[in-house]
């Protein structure tokens, strides 16, 4: 057994990746110390934000730290909630609708509770405020990850489950080897989307007004919001550039390698594999070999166990009946108490306030619909074109992904300023803002849908001499319909949430606002008017969930039964 490959590997001198890793380690330690000093510092509700460019790396570090920690929390939440939902008998009947509602609640709906509670908990430290900000970013990240993990767990092939049982994998081994591995592909893609979703409300999560209190945490989002408030154009450009640099770096240093690595979890051998220069280098470096050896220890823990004892299948029957009943009782009691409190809060609202809120809902509803319609107008033809050409989609997909990761609210004021010059008010221009934030979801999905149309069908449509209109009507639209629908659902959910920042903003010392549910929520938060806030958030959640149930769900069913290409 003499081969020259391993020898060559071990004798290689320090790879530059190893050196870079050491550098990275030093940087990381410095970063942790800096962040720790900031977090453990005395409470400073309004941090001094400097608009000079040299502060930007530090702010980017703070924001990135919050994003990464929030992602960690999201991951943990996903593992626990998703697993319980899929594997505990009967749990999904309650947990699935709850997740659906939570997903539809805009970030400001969580803000007062989080901030007041945590600042109360840490009255003298910055920590409380920081945790609140992290949790707000978390609410923008977590939901689609949880849904994806749950869906994967529900579709683990039964044969593989049988193998896991026959091999008597322990609960942990089975979770790692089977459940998590099977879900990996979906989780990785959704993690990328989640990270982008978390940045979207960065300006809100780091700088907000709550009643009489003004809160501002050092970070890119606060930097941007200050630059916008002061109308400092140069600082705004700096902020946008810093954000872009951060997104590109995270994409290249984190997501690309992870996506390339995650390919081993897919069943089929894809013709063109996703590539990552970093992953290629990493995999060949000495560091990785050490890591994989460590990983080997984790997967096969040396242990002795008597043969013939079957590990009980996790989930069903794990909880004792009384324990289960007790837990269920606690949940029901909590939900009941919460709803009673909530209804009591709502009853304090006057009829006029309700009328105003309902009118606002209608206004925002119209804006959301128009934004999705307008976005579809350009994304559908462009997406179909890109999807038809593999080389184009290869080049453009990563760029679009990057554009989608950029938090659109950061450039909202630029757009609004431009439109004000042409005499267009916020009522109309907020539609454009919503469109800026959500068009990417539609574009993504249309590209995916159009690239999945088999070549034979294009050929048939040419042989049948379809006119342009016929081709759209008979081939393209039906074929992309399921993906388009997914895009619409995501875009619409995003647009509702984005209305909070699109309908109300501080700009050069003025406050711009228009009638809408988003504006109502923002104003209520700023005034500390929790009755109106609760009512408005409830209305938004109800509208989103209701629309999902009444419109999207029947349409999805139709899409799956009639327009699925693999029928």
């Amino acid at each position: 057994m003499i081969t020259d490959k391993p020898l060559e590997r071990t004798e290689r001198a320090f790879d530059w990746v190893d050196l870079a890793a050491v550098g990275l380690l030093v940087g990381l330690i410095y970063a942790i110390v800096t962040v720790a000093r900031e977090w453990s510092g005395p409470l400073r509700p309004v941090a001094d934000i400097h608009l000079e460019a040299r502060y930007l790396p530090l702010y980017a570090l703070f924001s990135l730290t919050r994003g990464v920690i929030a992602y960690g929390v999201s991951f943990l939440f996903t593992m626990i909630y998703g697993y319980a939902m899929a594997r505990v008998a009967g749990a999904e009947r309650l947990m699935l609708p709850v997740l659906d509602i939570l997903q539809s609640i805009p970030v400001l709906g969580f803000l007062p509770g989080l901030v007041l509670g945590l600042v109360h908990l840490f009255p003298r430290r910055n920590l409380g405020l920081e945790i609140a900000s992290v949790l707000m970013i978390f609410t923008g990240q977590v939901w689609n990850m949880t849904f994806s993990f749950y869906a994967s767990l529900k579709s683990v092939p039964p044969d593989l489950v049988a193998v896991a049982r026959l091999s008597r994998l322990s609960w942990w081994e089975r979770f790692i080897q089977l459940d998590l591995s099977y879900a990996a592909t979906g989780l990785v893609w959704n993690s990328m989307m989640s990270m982008a979703g978390g940045w979207f409300f960065l300006t809100v999560s780091e700088a907000f007004v709550l009643g009489a209190h003004d809160f501002r945490l050092p970070g890119l989002g606060a930097y941007m919001s200050l630059a916008i408030e002061r109308g400092d154009g140069v600082a705004q450009v700096f902020g946008v550039v810093a954000m872009l640099v951060m997104i590109v770096l995270v994409d290249q240093l984190l997501w690309r390698p992870i996506v390339a690595w995650a390919q081993k979890f897919t069943d089929e051998d894809m013709g063109r594999a996703s590539e990552s220069w970093l992953w290629e280098r990493l995999r060949r470096s000495r560091l990785w070999q050490v890591c994989s050896r460590l990983r080997g220890l984790m997967t096969y823990p040396p242990r002795r166990r008597a043969i013939g004892i079957e590990v009980p299948s996790p989930g069903a029957g794990h909880l004792r009946p009384w324990g289960k009943r007790f837990a269920l009782g606690c949940i029901v009691a909590g939900v009941l108490y919460g709803s009673v409190q909530y209804v009591r809060l709502l009853t304090t609202l006057s009829g006029r306030e309700w009328m105003h809120l309902l009118g606002s809902t209608a206004a925002t509803f119209l804006r959301v619909l128009s934004a999705v319609a307008l976005a579809s107008l350009w994304t559908v033809p462009v997406g179909v074109l890109i999807g038809r050409s593999p080389p184009w989609s290869r080049v453009l997909q990563p760029l679009i992904q990057m554009a989608a990761s950029f938090p659109a609210p950061m450039i909202f004021t630029v757009v609004v300023g431009g439109m004000l010059m042409f005499g267009v008010g916020l009522g109309i221009s907020s539609v454009v803002l919503l469109l800026l934030g959500t068009q990417w979801y539609i574009l993504f999905n249309v590209i995916a849908g159009s690239s999945a149309i088999p070549r034979e069908l294009w050929e048939v449509s040419r042989l049948a001499r379809f006119s342009r209109g016929q081709r759209w009507q008979k081939l393209i639209l039906p074929a992309i319909f399921p993906s388009l629908l997914t895009g619409w659902i995501t875009a619409m959910g995003g647009a509702w949430n984005a209305s909070i920042v699109a309908e109300y903003m501080k700009y050069r010392g003025h406050t711009l606002t228009t009638t809408g549910l988003g504006a109502a929520i923002s104003q209520a938060t700023e005034r500390g008017d929790f009755h109106v806030l609760a009512a408005a958030v409830g209305l938004m959640a109800a509208t989103v969930v209701g629309f999902n149930r009444l419109v999207w769900r029947p349409l999805s069913h139709r899409a799956q039964t009639r327009f699925a290409l693999n029928a």
């Binding site: 044969d159 049988a162 193998v163 979890f265 166990r305 043969i307 039964t561």
Partner: protein, 443 residues
Amino acid sequence: MIMASPLLEIRNLFQRFPIAGGQSIEVLHDINLQIREQEVVAILGPSGCGKSTLLRAVIGLERPSSGEVLYRGKLQTGLNPSAGLVFQNFALFPWLTVHQNVAVGLSSLPLDDADRERRVRRVVDAVGLEGFEEAYPKELSGGMKQRVGFARALAVEPELLCMDEAFSALDVLTGETLRNEVIDLYSRKTSPVNTILMVTHSISEAVFMATRIVVMGAHPGTIRAVLDNPLPYPRDERQRELRMLSEKLHALITQTVIPEEPAPAAVAGARRPVVQSIPTVSMAATIGLLEVLENQGAMELFELARHVDLEFTQLLLIVKAAELFGWVSTPGQRVEMTEQGRKFLAADINTRKQLLNAKLRGIFVFKMVIQMLEQSETGEVPDEIILSQLALYFPHERPQRILRTVVAWARYAELLKYSSTRKVVYGFNPAKSAVTSPKNAEH
């Protein structure tokens, strides 16, 4: 052959599965079987006879509705620790290498790293996977994937090796090679595997590999016959004993699928249903059968299956459908076209539809649906109602499959229509009457 004590004993095993609408179907009916050491037992039967379910109950993956499984005289409650299973579609973890896939089953055994490594290397060698240890399943061909499946099952050194149609997802030549290798492994006695329980629908596979063959019938799954096959290995398919056994099995299976007359109770085991169901095959295949018979003349069933390259039990179902329409008759093992069959074949498409239309109206399931349509005020019947009726009449079959066949045949015969979006069955020309004959329905 040494008559060893029973390794495994199945007593009065019943298996029911719930289906939609709160009902359940009985998949296995009163199974009793003993498996002794040193045996290779093949469970042979048509699709839907519950043979895979039986295998899973034996291993402990499925808990029987009633009855018990004893292993070495002890009641088996959980998974059988001394059994290994090879799956039809390999069931490999795509994210693990060949080596890791094989080692999966060893992680729970009290072995140290060196022992574990030795075992993996030994089975990898034994199944001919050397050099592939670091490959991922997606890089392997079907045959190589199944070798990994075997290696994984063998790595735990099972007393009882179970195979669930382990060769049926492979191409003919690869399957042949692997079958030989498994028998080789078994008869060399160097491996700990001394008892094999395999599930198959291929008569030649059972005859070639097994020392005992258990024939099962479907709806519900029952054991119809048990045949010994004591010929020593290595075997040759052309051997006279094997050919005779094969003929006997063909006759037996034919008898279970297309009974000559109501089967005697001693063989049937279960009570026959009062009304006959329909074989769930396509109309095109049934007409294709007539075309073949016209060209080839009358044929032996076995010969016919080989000629059209179909699995024997699948062919039997098609013959059964043709017989239901009166197009063929089956004296013994022969299939002959009838006068009606000839007439149908000679007719043009519209006449064919008329002929079939008239035939279907005489078949119970269709009569039932037509009657439901006549009683319906809207001239439509939701599929759920038909499904629950079917479940009532045929408690051992999947109602969805029957309905799918009913709709396909009735559409061809211009007897009924079905809307998959509204999920209702309606008459072919509902404007005039609930059900019209094709003469009125021509476009």
